[in-house]
């Protein structure tokens, strides 16, 4: 798969060469990242000319470490995670040369922001039920429908979009996948307010949006397979970075415990210790997963990590309010707002409690993750499917 001459040391040398030519601190970010792309040191497993050098993926960490040690800039994952983690691998796998040329570089440099138009009000866990219609018209498509839970839709220039192109065949077979211009006429983005009072997400209404056929990814009707590539990359992305002990929410509550002796009771201590143990177990499991991935053995533990993370966040933030007692009865601000960087640790305890409720819904509900583990890892029988052989238009809703 890889050219034999690519080794960790040759890569490190290439990085140092680039760093010598482009001061990582003084060069403007987009320019520096552009140079990194052009040197094939962006995604090293990508082809030459597209930010990579067809090198083994397992060597990426060494490249990243080398750049990090030099203080080189990286993109904010909150703003560019969808582009880097989900759009880029899909564009590479299913786009033609023109797509590659047009989109990968500005995505990598951060000049263009991406969002993901997948979920719909009627298609959440069951993404394949989606109903946003795409109708072929000349050498373009006309798209009508509604998407929901779209992060970054109000900041993005581009979207990856899955549509229903043929309602008369079973649902997995009639989908088509596009790159959608978020500035095109007919794209309307509305904030979606959530239980915390703020709106991290959006609803996106698509009304007669025209997309050239040249922006299609994969074959007509093959959108489900393309979307699976996107989602597989999402799951791999989770749980990838080393976390120190007490690195997550448990650290926040542990600090409160240490600083506020007046709040302590024997019963709450037992609850805190149980969660400390669970959090440390989850941390070590994430670390084991990280080591596995680094050793090139991606396992199914990604779903498990997300499941555990959601449950822990919910339990810990719930305990935090109980520990705080009366102080847990207050909130900071219900006013509608659009945070650009929602952060659990940065919020108030009440915010954390509410926001954590979304952790077991967003990016795959805990129920769906349990199905995945049961079926793909344990090999238990699939749910009885009543929707496999029914035309999408005839499905009960």
């Amino acid at each position: 798969m890889s050219t034999p001459e690519v080794t960790e040391s040759s890569l490190r040398a290439a990085v140092r060469e680039l760093l010598a030519e482009h001061d990582p601190v003084r060069t403007p970010v987009a320019e520096f990242l552009g140079a990194r792309y052009d040197a094939g040191l962006a995604w090293i497993h990508f082809p030459e000319g597209l930010g990579g050098r067809a090198a083994p993926r397992s060597l990426q960490q060494a490249v990243n470490d080398e750049f990090a040690a030099a203080g080189a800039p990286t993109l904010d994952p909150g703003r560019h995670g969808i582009g880097l983690g989900m759009a880029a691998p899909t564009l590479l796998a299913f786009g033609d040369a023109e797509i590659h040329r047009r989109f990968l570089r500005p995505l990598w440099t951060g000049e263009e922001v991406w969002c993901q138009l997948f979920s719909e009000p009627g298609a959440g866990s069951d993404l394949a039920a989606l109903g946003t219609r795409a109708v072929h018209d000349g050498d373009s498509w006309v798209v009508d429908g509604q998407k929901v839970w779209t992060s970054l839709a109000h900041e993005a220039q581009w979207a990856i979009l899955v549509t229903r192109s043929d309602p008369s065949v079973p649902k997995h077979r009639g989908m088509t996948y596009f790159v959608c211009d978020m500035t095109a006429p007919g794209v309307e983005v509305r904030p979606l307010r959530q239980a915390t009072g703020e709106a991290e997400f959006n609803e996106v209404f698509l009304t007669g949006v025209r997309i050239p056929d040249s922006r299609r990814l994969g074959e007509v009707g093959d959108g489900w397979r393309v979307a699976q590539t996107t989602l597989m990359n999402e799951r791999v992305a989770i749980g990838g970075s080393a976390v120190p002990r007490e690195g997550g929410l448990i650290g926040t509550v542990a600090r409160t415990w240490r600083e506020r002796p007046e709040l302590r009771t024997p019963g709450l201590q037992d609850s805190l210790l149980r969660l400390w143990v669970d959090a440390e177990a989850a941390r070590l499991t994430g670390e084991r997963l990280r080591q596995q991935l680094a050793a090139g053995q991606p396992g199914p533990e990604g779903s498990a990590a997300k499941l555990a993370f959601a449950r822990l966040n919910q339990q810990i933030s719930g305990l935090e309010l109980e520990l705080l007692g009366g102080e847990g009865l207050v909130y900071d601000d219900w006013t509608f707002r659009r945070p650009s960087h929602p952060s659990m640790e940065g919020g108030t305890p009440g915010y954390r409690y509410l926001r954590a409720k979304g952790n077991s819904i967003e990016g795959g509900t805990s129920e769906i993750l349990r199905n995945i583990i049961a079926e793909r890892v344990l090999g238990l029988p699939q749910e009885i499917r009543v929707d496999k052989d029914v035309a999408w238009k005839d499905l009960p809703r």
Binding site: D126, A129, Q194, V330, Y331, I361
Partner: protein, 371 residues
């Protein structure tokens, strides 16, 4: 180990209680639909005073626990608990728990015949000036003092249902440190941004306020403690209503919501979770009825019944509301869907009048399971 006074406490609902429930439910459905309640939380008037007047004047339920001779309906705490169930089920923004339960229980204990008729009729909204997180069997508060000027000074934080109250019942210490309970009309209530948007809290300031003493010494201590115990016992019924809403709404939703060509409620994992929740809610119903019965009977078992009720209700109701959010999927996490109102009510109620942890610690003392 303490024994329940009467092994055969009636844990059912009487026909009269069921009729009362029907009337309250109908009124709330007509006057306090959830969309209106949600909109109200961001208005200038988060508390629904018109609804309060309707509960008082049309249904006469603000004085259920007050004897007729003192201007009440002469029913009792069991009937009051039924009203709370319905208020919980509607997440209704009225000061019922504060005025018709906590303040009324204190006034009844103090036998204050001056205020009782006014509070019973709903004409006066009264609030017990203690932090909403205060548990029964706590030390008598020292936040407010009667100074040498004969006036009350102090601040009480995070008081429930005080925002629309015109009269406070204030526990305060005089200069000798003697506890007293005072009726006070001269105070300021500063709104607090509250987790439970349908029961906003307030910080109260008494800056040299005249107070009428309605109980003193041991009687004041007992009145406050009885009020908190009855409040804790009856809050479980409000929590039951919240849990029932969560269970019923979620059950209805999963019957109708389809994914994978099937109702979500046909998936066995969802079915089993809702079955477990139904078991818990059925248990909470028995626990809440028992607590209301102990309050109604003035039972010596009230401290146990109240602590049990809060230790149990706080767990079950939070789980119910959390399951409602989860099983509604993304929908349940939106501002537009009422689930979050109930989640916030459930979590706040789990802290109100003592956390579950606090009540378990009380039980350890009461039933001799100490360390």
């Amino acid at each position: 180990m303490s024994e329940p006074t009467d092994l055969r406490t009636d844990l059912q609902y009487s026909e009269v209680e069921q009729e009362l429930r029907g009337n309250v439910r109908a009124l709330l459905a007509a006057r306090a639909p959830q969309a209106a309640t949600l909109a109200r939380t961001e208005s200038e008037q988060p508390v629904d005073t018109a609804l309060w007047r309707a509960l008082a004047d049309e249904l006469g339920v603000t004085g259920l626990a007050v004897p007729e001779k003192w201007g009440g309906a002469g029913a009792g705490w069991r009937e009051t608990a039924v009203v709370l169930e319905e208020l919980g089920r509607a997440a209704a923004p009225v000061p019922y728990l504060g005025s018709a339960v906590l303040a009324t229980a204190a006034l009844l204990a103090a036998e204050d015949t001056e205020l009782l008729p006014l509070v019973a009729s709903g004409e006066v909204v009264a609030a017990l000036a203690v932090p909403f997180a205060a548990a029964p069997r706590s030390p008598f508060p020292s936040a407010v003092q009667l100074r040498s000027d004969g006036l009350l000074h102090g601040t009480v934080h995070l008081v429930a249902d005080a925002r629309t109250a015109t009269t406070l019942l204030v526990p305060a210490l005089d200069q000798d440190g003697t506890p007293g309970l005072y009726a006070v009309r001269d105070f300021t209530a500063a709104p607090v941004v509250s987790l439970d948007m349908t029961r906003p809290l307030a910080d109260l300031t008494l800056a040299g306020a005249a107070g009428r003493r309605i109980a003193s010494g041991e009687a004041a201590v007992a009145a406050l403690d009885t009020a908190l115990a009855i409040g804790a016992a009856l809050l479980a019924s409000e929590q039951l209503g919240v849990a029932e809403w969560a269970l019923e709404t979620t059950t209805a939703y999963v019957k109708q919501r389809h994914q994978f060509g099937r109702p979500v409620g046909s998936f066995q994992a969802v079915k089993h979770r809702l079955a477990d929740l139904w078991v818990s809610v059925a248990q909470l119903r028995a626990v809440a009825r028992s607590a209301a019965g102990a309050a109604a009977a003035g039972s010596p078992d009230l401290p146990v019944a109240a602590a049990l009720a809060q230790a149990f209700a706080s767990q079950v109701t939070v789980v119910a509301a959390e399951e409602a959010v989860q099983l509604h999927g993304g929908t349940g996490f939106t501002w537009e869907h009422p689930a979050h109102l109930y989640l916030k009510r459930a979590k706040s109620a789990s802290i109100a009048l003592g956390t579950a942890d606090r009540h378990r610690a009380a039980l350890a003392q009461l039933v001799d399971l100490t360390l």
